[in-house]
């Protein structure tokens, strides 16, 4: 007797899952952040050195540099810069989706040199004389923005304003003169203001550059990797194409070799892929090209859980057990094998993550997420679907499970 209620339950679960996937799948996939190798961008590792010999580089200086770099990057409008301190004297910058890479790299790499010049071009003060984060945007009575500067040495600044009273002092960033205010009075408090017809944005940008320019570090590129936008798009497209082919081949193999359980494996694999993308999306993980490779590989590994279980079920069937008890025994006996095998791969994944650089880390994260989800979908999901189906009494012939009648021995 075929129990239709079971078949309905089975179908309902599958339709429900596929409904959710069909409805949200594309959005989930598109919401994943792409790495710079897939959308173009660059990664630079800087070695940071103090400008002056003998100065010490402490944690504070490094974090300040990072925030300064962030500000500089904001100036050119990169949405999600990833700038981090590495070790004791390094900073890694990752910028994805930068349209003008040359500009960005120039802006980052060269510590903007801020100087105050007298009318003859002689340097009076440098960025070093500016207090840390000493530039800020203020508003006058008419709500016009101006930039307030705070200097380290008030006396030195007082002397300068005395000497150059009623003369213009230029403030220059690198070679470019930003503004040339005329000294209106002797300033004794160590503060100054730069006024001009600035918009709020311009003033904020300028203050940011001034603060960044005041950093006492030199940065040397010791590793860089940049990918043009067109090449990134090409990699992405090829990666997706290769995934489709690889996954299609795996599906075909499972269908032809394992037949009905193969269909169940395909169902759980689709859910598996969806969940992997969903988790990557939630984690705000960045998908890199090696990440795509890991994704396809985890599909191959996820299906391994099905293969181990199905081979076990086939063995039990051949030994003469009924379908129900063969499925039960097969699932029970394969579980510890699957867990042992996957945990060893997770160990490799953890090590990869720990020692790897960004693109390798992307690979490791995908690999580990994939393995954990495998247990959920391709072990427990498969169990559930198979258990419901087997009890429906439909498709009972061993053929549907890839076993020939002639192979079945006596119990």
């Amino acid at each position: 007797m075929i129990k239709w209620s079971r078949i309905w339950a089975f179908s309902l679960i599958v339709i429900l899952m596929f409904g959710v996937i069909g409805y949200t799948g594309l959005g989930v996939a598109k919401g994943i952040t792409l790495g710079l190798d897939l959308q173009g961008g660059f990664e630079i590792l800087y070695e940071v050195k103090p400008v002056h010999e003998g100065e010490k580089l402490d944690k504070g200086t490094l974090t300040d540099t990072v925030s300064a770099l962030n500000r500089r990057v904001n100036v050119i409008g990169v949405s999600e810069p990833d700038i981090q301190v590495e070790g004791t004297d390094r900073i890694r910058v990752k910028l994805a989706g930068v349209t003008n890479q040359e500009q960005a790299r120039k802006l980052l790499g060269e510590p903007a040199r801020l100087s105050f010049l007298d009318p003859n071009g002689k340097e009076l003060l440098t960025g070093d004389d500016l207090a840390k984060n000493g530039a800020s945007v203020q508003y006058d009575e008419l709500r016009r923005p101006y930039i307030a500067l705070k200097l380290k040495d008030a006396d030195k600044f007082k002397q300068i304003t005395e000497t150059y009273l009623q003369q213009p002092i230029s403030i220059a960033l690198d070679e470019k003169i930003l503004t040339s205010p005329v000294v209106q009075s002797v300033i004794s408090g160590g503060t100054a203001s730069i006024t001009g017809n600035y918009t709020v944005d311009e003033a904020t940008e300028l203050a940011g550059i001034l603060n960044a320019g005041a950093l006492p570090v030199e940065m040397k590129e010791i590793y860089s990797n940049s990918v043009g936008a067109a090449l990134g798009a090409e990699s992405l497209q090829k990666g997706i194409y290769a995934s489709f082919i690889g996954i299609a081949l795996i599906f075909l193999f499972m269908l032809l070799y394992y037949r009905w359980p193969g269909v169940i494996a395909i169902i759980t694999l689709v859910v598996f892929m969806y969940l992997t993308l969903l988790v990557l999306n939630w984690m705000h993980a960045t998908l890199t090209l090696p990440g795509i490779a890991a994704f396809i590989l985890t599909v191959g590994m996820a299906v391994d859980a099905n293969i181990i279980t199905y081979e076990r079920i086939k063995e039990e069937l051949r030994s003469g057990k009924t379908l129900l008890s063969a499925v039960r025994a097969g699932q029970r006996r394969s579980l510890s094998t699957i867990i042992d095998a996957n945990l060893t791969t997770i160990i490799a994944g953890i090590v990869l993550f720990y020692f790897g650089t960004s693109s390798v880390q992307g690979f490791a994260v995908t690999l580990m997420v994939g393995i954990i989800l495998t247990l959920l979908t391709n072990v427990f999901g498969t169990r559930l679907l198979l258990a419901i189906w087997v009890r429906s009494n439909a498709l009972r012939k061993p053929w549907y499970y890839g076993v020939k009648e002639s192979e079945i021995g006596e119990l």
């Binding site: 795996i250 090590v351 693109s359």
Partner: protein
């Protein structure tokens, strides 16, 4: 010849496979010692530019173009599916101005579709990368040994690690002998192979452990029987699993594009070697070692038999 994977005797031929693997490994290691690697910029200082020109070009044209910019490339290779890319290596790192000038001059000559992928590595960093890769391999091995020792026994752990190193050395020496360029993703590939190979081996070990409980093992011959039976029982799974992963890695190799080629090539080769070692090497090493236990028993029969 009739070869049926489910009835073939994997154990009686073990000496031949040990010999085969041993000889190949020695050749591989000699290759490594004498030929070394064709190191990519990830491990050697310098700059690699992948210039996607998108139009027919000759290597001489590229060289001439670079010469105008006073750049002396170490090598220029035509790459890409339709030979539309030039992979240029410089032994000296280029600075960002130089890279920008290359892009400008190629865009001027070939049009706006020109795009550049650049990677520059300082020797300090490349040494660290290589060092980290070694550490990663060592730590992964230690982690796996500990896990397998806890879950199984130390003999399985050591046999598994030998098989794993066998696979890693196999892939590494093929890359050395054929002088295929080695880059950072190559290391990720090696570590994936390592993880995967041990995964494969574990499944067979797991069956051996199970069968050891079902069968009375008193002599070396019993042990041989159990190991052989376990391999026969898991052979379909071992092969099928590798087939599915191979489908994935082959798809990556053929369709995945230039930047992932080394990775997928290493992986594809490694999967084959890994399949071989988990079927013909790993369990057999364990067998040889475990059999010593019985030899010991014969000399001192009063000992309780290890279970």
């Amino acid at each position: 010849m009739n070869f049926n994977p489910k009835t073939w005797n994997y154990v009686s031929h073990r000496k031949q496979f040990f010999l085969l693997s041993g000889v190949l490994q020695i050749i591989g290691i000699l290759g490594l010692l004498f030929l070394g690697f064709n190191l990519g910029v990830d491990f050697q200082s310098g700059t690699r530019l992948d210039i996607a020109i998108g139009k027919p070009f000759t290597e001489a044209e590229v060289a001439a173009e670079l010469k105008q910019l006073n750049l002396e490339p170490g090598s220029i290779v035509t790459a890409g599916d339709n030979g539309e890319r030039a992979a240029v290596r410089f032994t000296e790192p280029l600075n960002k101005e130089q890279i920008a000038s290359v892009k400008n001059s190629f865009t001027k000559k070939y049009g706006d579709q020109v795009d550049i992928q650049e990677s520059t590595v300082d020797p300090v960093v490349s040494r660290e990368l290589a060092k980290n890769a070694m550490y990663a391999l060592i730590w992964a091995s230690i982690g796996i040994v500990i896990y397998v020792t806890v879950r199984f026994e130390y003999r399985f752990a050591i046999a598994g690690i030998i098989a794993l190193l066998h696979d890693a050395i196999g892939v590494i020496s093929i890359f050395s002998i054929f002088q295929i360029e080695v880059d950072l993703p190559f290391i990720a590939a090696i570590l994936t192979i390592v993880g995967y190979s041990i995964n494969d081996t574990i499944v067979t070990f797991d069956r051996i452990r199970e069968n050891m409980k079902l069968h009375k093992v008193k002599r070396k011959a019993d042990l041989e029987y159990v190991v052989n039976l376990s391999i026969q029982e898991t052979i379909t799974r071992s092969i099928n699993t590798v087939i599915t992963v191979l489908m994935a890695s082959a798809a990556l190799l053929i369709f995945g594009g230039e930047s992932i080629r080394t990775f997928s090539l290493a992986l594809t080769i490694g999967l084959f070697i890994g399949m071989y070692s988990s079927i013909f090497i790993a369990s057999q090493i364990w067998l040889e070692w475990k059999a010593k236990e019985f030899a010991g028993n014969r000399i001192t029969p009063t000992n309780n038999e290890a279970s």
